[in-house]
């Protein structure tokens, strides 16, 4: 069958047409015209993120360096690799039942792509912290937090703090010496919070010292609670970019 016949057969039926809305580049009859370019954005789920048209200067790589977009990409990548890791991990520790640590050993030794996915998750997490920081610096140096974007800057700072907390809660999960003592430093600091220091530390540790309860608590924070809060703030952050008039500048 000729290539064009195959394309027509695939595209010209009710199922294909029901999936790809008019203006989709995958639909039959897409032409590279202004109308179809506009429809390609408008009739796409990406319309939640991007408007039909963007300022030309924002396309220049040296304006944004894609830092915000790449931070989000890291978040997506960490979600995907994180879900993979969850299949092979049990947040259980304690004398005689060091399941979490054994899972880590098995992950690198006998799970297909286990070590690679764990590496992606680890380095991706470091990359995300760094990218979010760079994104903040870029926004500051462009004065992009100025009216009407003040509140979105505040949301961004909250997202930076959430990113740090996400990364830090994940740090404990391998349940090795490195994790235990790094977290020891962090939770000791939390114990010095004014007035409620002891209570804050108790809530974070699930007890008076780092133990199996801490591991379970940080696991739930890491895989469910903090990502959920982060997604809510991400949604507001992206929505506000568009409501505040799209990308800032030009300078």
């Amino acid at each position: 069958m000729a290539k064009n016949d195959l394309k027509t057969t695939v595209q010209d039926n009710v199922i294909w047409k029901s999936i790809f809305r008019p203006g989709s580049i995958y639909r039959k009859g897409y032409r590279d015209t202004s109308r179809d370019r506009a429809l390609a954005s408008m009739n796409n789920v990406l319309y939640h993120l991007h408007p039909v048209k963007v300022k030309r200067h924002g396309l220049k790589l040296t304006y944004t360096y894609c830092l915000g977009g790449l931070s989000f990409f890291m978040f997506i990548l960490l979600t995907i690799t994180g879900i993979f890791l969850m299949f092979f991990y049990t947040p259980a520790a304690g004398a005689g039942t060091e399941i979490a640590y054994l899972n880590m050993r098995e992950l690198s030794a006998s799970v297909t792509f286990g070590q690679l996915v764990r590496n992606l998750h680890r380095w991706g997490a470091h990359a995300m912290v760094f990218l979010v920081f760079l994104h903040m610096a870029r926004v500051f140096y462009h004065g992009a937090y100025k009216p009407p974007r003040e509140f979105n800057w505040v949301v961004g700072v909250i997202l930076l703090l959430l990113t740090l907390f996400l990364s830090f809660t994940g740090y404990l999960l391998p349940w090795d010496q490195l994790a235990l003592w790094a977290v020891q430093v962090g939770t000791n600091i939390a114990g010095f919070s004014p007035v409620f220091g002891d209570q804050v530390q108790f809530v974070l540790l699930g007890g008076v010292e780092i133990g199996p309860n801490t591991l379970l608590r940080w696991y739930v924070l890491h895989v469910l609670f903090v990502p959920f809060i982060t997604v809510v703030f991400l949604a507001v952050h992206f929505w506000r970019i568009r409501k505040d008039g799209g990308i800032s500048g030009p300078l």
Binding site: R37, A38, A40, S41, L46, H50, P51, V52, K53, V54, K55, R56, G58, L59, L61, C66, L70, M74, L77, Y101, S108, Q115, R118, N119, L120, R122, W123, H126, A127, V129, A137, Y141, G143, A144, Y145, K146, P147, R149, E150, V154, V157, I158, L164, Y171, W175, D176, Q177, L178, A179, L180, W181, A182, V185, I189, F192, S193, P194, G245, S248, L251
Partner: protein, 279 residues
Amino acid sequence: MSDEVQIDQEVYDRLIGEGKSERIARAKAKAASVRKAKIAEGQSLGPRSADEASKALEEFRANAGGGGVATKTEAPADAGGGGRLTPEQRAARVAASLGNGGDKQPASMGVPTSGEHTHRLLALVPPAGIQQVQSKQMDKVYTWPHLLLVEFVALLAAGSLLLIVSFFLDAPLGSLANPNDVPAINKAPWYFMGLQELLAYFHPMVAGITLPGVFAVMLMAAPYVDKNPSAKPENRKVAVLGFTFFCVFWGVLVIIGSFIRGAGYEWVWPWITGLGFTL
């Protein structure tokens, strides 16, 4: 008209005599002096009232042949295909209307090619009838394909870089956690090394709670404190300097904490004991 405008003393005295205010008399006297000077130079003057203006317009129409009345440009007889113009025909028409069409130019375009410049008042619109558009007209491009392609390439580049790093560099995994075995070097992840370094100088409540809290609030308050409307770097030296100082301050703390701290969190040069640092 750079030199000082003289006032016509005769007109001024007459107006003062009529009981006009000093301000009005001076203004009218100035206008009279300018008018006199123009007449002396042989320039023509504009209409002084609405009646004069409409009279002048009628005179102009009679002389210039139907100016101000929209007349249909004759469509080319050979325009085929449902009245659409070929590119050549369109170009010819545009050239004609711009006054470059030579003798093909219709006499009724309403713009005299020679002689005096004139102005036509087309309509008066009350300010309330004008829609105020706040946003500036900007140079924009379609998101698809321009922006999405850039984003896709950036995504592929970052993804491949991360994959390559992950392929060659394994994430660290120490020995099993043991609360009774305190390691010689005990460090937080790198992004918290700044805090841990501060702990070496201040009481934990100051270094661990107060200072980071103040920094976080300062960061969030930045857009409300910085009232300078300009986004140009040359107009906001204080803000740029302040933020750069903030970043360098944290960067230096992180580098000291990560690389120049060894066993017991003592100051040790990395070339003596090696890097006491794990990602």
